[in-house]
């Protein structure tokens, strides 16, 4: 929730909501997200070990992992492309907006896949 919640906020900001928020001030949020990611990786691995033969063969589980990896990739790309400079961009480029929108979709899909794991197969 910390990871996805933060990612969604950055995506929304880039898509034009809360324009008064300076992008540079959101940069510290990446640290929060990485912390949350490592925690999720650790606890997720433990949960996986407890149930590996079932999860390892479950297509939806592999889809979820792919989506999480793609989500992380969008975050790394966003950080590199949008949060690199020292000066505040006045307009968010179309490419950055598309990336933010992709990130929004990928993270929502990852949450969806994760939640459905409890109900499918």
């Amino acid at each position: 929730m910390v990871l996805v919640g933060s990612a969604l906020m950055i995506d929304l900001r880039l898509l034009g909501f809360g324009r008064g928020i300076p992008l540079s001030s959101l940069e510290r949020l990446f640290r929060v997200m990485w912390g949350a990611f490592w925690l999720n990786l650790l606890t997720g691995t433990m949960l996986f070990i407890a149930d590996a033969s079932k999860r390892g063969t479950q297509p939806l589980f592999l889809i979820k992992l792919t989506l999480v990896a793609s989500g992380i990739a969008t975050i790394i790309l966003l950080r590199r492309r949008v949060f690199d400079g020292t000066k505040e961009p006045l307009v968010i480029s179309g490419a950055a907006k598309r990336l933010a929108f992709t990130s929004l979709l990928v993270w929502s899909a990852a949450v969806t896949a994760g939640r459905l794991l409890a109900y499918v197969g």
């Binding site: 929730m1 990612a7 969604l8 809360g18 959101l26 949020l29 969806t112």
Partner: protein, 321 residues
Amino acid sequence: MPELANPADLAHVHLLINHFPTIGMILGLGLLLLSFLRKNDHLKKVSLEVLFLIALATMPVYVSGQAAAETLKGQTGVSAEAIIAHNDAALASFIMMEITGFVAWLLLWRMRRIGWPTTGLTYTVLVLSVMTVASVARAANIGGDIRHPEIAGGQYAGLFGQSSGTPLISAAAIKDFVLQHPFVWPTCETLHFLGMSLMFGVLLIVNLRLVGWLRGMSFASVHRLLPFGLMGFGINFITGMFFFIAASEQYTQNVAFHYKVILLILAGVNYLVLTVYDEAWALPASAEAPLSGKLLGASALVLSIGVMYFGRMLPFIGNAF
């Protein structure tokens, strides 16, 4: 984990708090009308705050009512028909109440941004409040028929002898819908988690700003995000109600759910304070919030993490599926 309350205790709680919604709504509406008469925006703000708080206070009333119904089930001198009619009427008024609370909050949020109440939203709140008062009074009246032999003689016939008729919203129909279609529960669970991400994302940013960790932004700029937080809450309220109506026993007798509701109400009060908090509103970028603001932010984070913790623990501490 030790029990907080058994169903009989909750039935008692229901009797204790079941007049809050009716009286609170009348009070909120009264203050709103008075604010028109006196042309006083400050009073209007107070009336909106009251309406929001009453919408929050109605949550435990509805939830404990379900526990009361479970306790009363099968007892003599109780009209089962009246219980069902009361539940349906209460559900309808609960929904009305939450919509009113939501719009009242929206107006408070707008007022904070532009400084005065906008006409459209103000009249929407007024109309909704009138409708909610009527709806909640009807629910309360039918509730009184459940076990007041001096009124109904144990036989439910409705006020003035009229029958309750087909309800607009039927809890039984919602329960059937959720339980008979296998896709509904997982869909609601998924939406519940998406709503949670949205709500918690907003809470995280706004409250980290207050605590001082994301100091680079002015409070006014993050205030802009608050409606997204409430939107997330709205999604979770609706989907959560589907779970509760479909399988109420696994929540009414679940200590994790009791804690969740208590923390949720406290978090709601915190959100209201955050929306109207003067000292924070004036905070420019990089300025440190006063101690009260830091405490407010820290408590919001603790409360919302607590709500998520007990939500996640529903199947582990308690018995929910």
